[in-house]
């Protein structure tokens, strides 16, 4: 089937129920999107599907037909994504970094939809797990990116 990722349409051959995550990683070779739990608990696999933050590890390939998928590889092509990345760098958010692709994608989706989020909006949208406990730095970076929007 055809899969549109980061504005490019790829023809992929995979079982229809293959998780989008593994199509992105193994078939298309884009490894910025991470496997953490496989059951939509941790959010390391977060991508945008038509702008919505989506956990790709439980998203069947067939369900995104005709939709537009954005991964971390294209994050800096989006003005909001660029601001989020700069806030992440300025705030020195990352530690091990493994969850941060998903965190940046979740933050980008939030700020695209809600440019000036309240603390409650941030808490509701930023639910991805971080075992390094960078949660305070993440929330501060989201506020920083919003302030510069």
């Amino acid at each position: 089937m055809d899969l549109t990722i980061n504005g490019v349409t790829h023809s992929v051959e995979a079982e229809a129920d293959t998780p989008l995550l593994w199509v992105i990683r193994d078939l298309l070779g884009m490894t910025g999107t991470k496997y953490g739990c496989g059951v939509a608990q941790c959010g390391a696999c977060t991508v945008l599907v038509d702008g919505q933050a989506t956990r790709s590890c439980v998203t069947p390939l067939e369900s995104v037909a005709g939709q537009s998928v954005t991964t971390i590889e294209a994050i800096e092509q989006d003005p909001v994504g660029r601001r989020v990345v700069e806030a992440w760098v300025t705030g020195q958010v990352a530690q091990c970094g493994y969850c941060q692709s998903g965190q940046v994608m979740a933050a980008t989706a939030l700020l695209q939809q809600t440019p000036q989020p309240s603390d409650e909006d941030i808490a509701a949208a930023m639910t991805n797990l971080c075992r390094c406990g960078t949660y305070n730095a993440i929330a501060a970076a989201v506020r920083q990116a919003a302030a510069q929007g």
Partner: protein, 746 residues
Amino acid sequence: MDGYTQAFFPAAELPQDQPVNLSRRGMLGAALGALVLGVALPSRAARAQQAAAPAATPGSRVLAFLEIRADGSVLLKSPFIEGGQGIDTAMAQIVGEELDADPARFVVECAPPGPDYALVNGMRITGGSFSTRSSYPVMRQLGAKARHMLIQAAATRLGVPAESLATEPGRVIHAASGRTLDYGALAAEAAALPVPDSAPLRAEKDFRYIGKPVARLDVRAKSTGKATYTIDLTAEGMLQAAVQHAPRLGCEPGAIANETAVRDMPGVHSIHRLPGAVAVVADRWWRARRAVEALEVTWNGPAADARNVLAADFSSQGMRAALAAAPGPGNAAETEGDAAAALRSAARTIEATYDAPYLAHGQLEPPSTIARWNADGTLDLWLPNQAPEMYQSVAAKLAGLAPEQVRIHSPLLGGFFGRHFLYDAASPFPQAIQLAKAVGRPVKLIWSREEEFLRDGFRPMGLARFRAGIGADGLPIALDVEAMGEGPAGRYFGTQPGAADPTVVEGISGKPYAIPNRRVAHVPVKHPAVIGFWRSVGHSMNDYFYETFFDEMAEAGGQDPYALRLRLLAEKPRHKALLEAVGELSGGWKRGPYDAADGTRRARGVAMASPFGSEVATIAEVSLKDGEVVVHDVWVAIDPGSIVNPAIIAAQVNSAVALGLSSALLEEVVYEGGVPQARNFDGYPILPPGRMPRVHVRIVESGAPMGGVGEPGLPGVPPAVVNAVAALTGQRIRSLPLSKARFGAV
């Protein structure tokens, strides 16, 4: 992992030619004169000399660590592995300070196995919060020697005395003539020069990088998905593999009912029986996983001579009962005065038993390994690890090779927390080696999260019995503690007969309080389960046991817990200052309960810890919401003696608070029927963002010898929280996690 580095690796595991005496550094530095700083290979003569020279003292060969490229960037081959703790940045700061090169110009990668990198007491590990403090003097000297060589090369090039030259970041300057030479242009010539025995170091007052909040080198790559971990790598022509382990450790695969059907599933290359597991190799990982999980395997009981068997009736509840029933007196770890006599004469005695569960590491990157057998019979392995030489040694034995025939590649770690030392049956690399051999192609094996929860080496369950004698003045005069169980140091490196395992008692022994009569002992009880090091190791539970019982002693004596700590630290100025610092940081000690501005009823708890050569004082503020503990603020004063990067220290304290709080609130591995029950984060919840408190950090530099940073922030958190809960509710929680406790209204 305090105080037992010598125990950490047995001598037998070390390469035989590896000197462990750092004092030989000066002597050998001169012997290995012709080294190369730049990209050029050593001259033939130099190579011959190196070949003839005795093995290098760790940290002496500049070439093994530094390569200055033509563009002036610096490649540093680090002895350590970056897994979030910021060690790559710290190494660049330390070397850059003395080399006179901006840390931002550094590219840091983990060095391959080799004796040059054995900088942790003659060994090489990334763990124990040892990296910076163990290597600091050596890495400074490396940078200084390299700078010296660059100046010598410039002196020759310019025809001026070396004494007339100075440096500024990245270049040599001749002030008299106004000429400058970039390091990149000098590297090849510097290469031909001898390495000095030593080189002058920069005065600490002139530091520009050390002690400053230098930006992390890896943060942009980690914010844009460009950072790569083992799980992201590929080898040309590789296949991918997934495994299904025996649910109960020790069982072996028997009949597979549907092997033919599974072989016909999409992408499947082959099906394999492995020790304690079955595997499917396929063209893609998802196909391998789907196929291996479709296999209907009969698991046979363990062989009579099998190692590491969990009995079919093993349970964590039964283990807790076994620990509680273990008789003392055990192996003494600390004895002061006469605790037994003082207990008999005390005005009042109290006793309590505390316990804490098995814990999973829960690092977000699931373990994986790429194994590639090469045409010349050698083996390349890419794998997450905290000790490359140790993996090399074990992999070589498994593969039937000499260690030097196994190349270990150590990519970034997607979290570690102690996960990636060698534990029995806990790493995918033996399976990957076997599968790659069997299929004749490189194989990437990834463990699913479910397999990871099944075979992680868990933080051991622990239990401790406390008895205290309180004098007529309300002060504790006697403390007798028996810590039951087994620690990872004893498990993997042994203990002397009759000696306590330090990883069982650390955080109960080594406390600073002036209690005149003390006995701390280890009562050995083996864990059938595979156990491992977990961030702050024994401290992760023992400081909870001790500091929470401390509050019970305070209450029994009618003392405020903060005031009693201050009083018992009267002769310990470093600890007393730190306790006062955290009190001040929190706006002045108040225990509560009290009503907060938002209408919640709150209270605070305090705890101290002395982990990994650093000192830490912690205060936490809690309330209850719907019967659940809410932690609002955590204040941490940390004294690592002296520091390299305050921003990274603050980040590590935040991180340690999160993990410590996660363990206090939520985490528990439950075994039933010999099998860990939770197989993913739905069954083993870890701290979510909504339960993260504000964290306030004060760094105190007392000037004491440099201590660790990565782990010390953790141990004070559970007791500070539980003491606050006691202040709020009157309930003493003596068994973690708090999610098991039921609280009424307050």
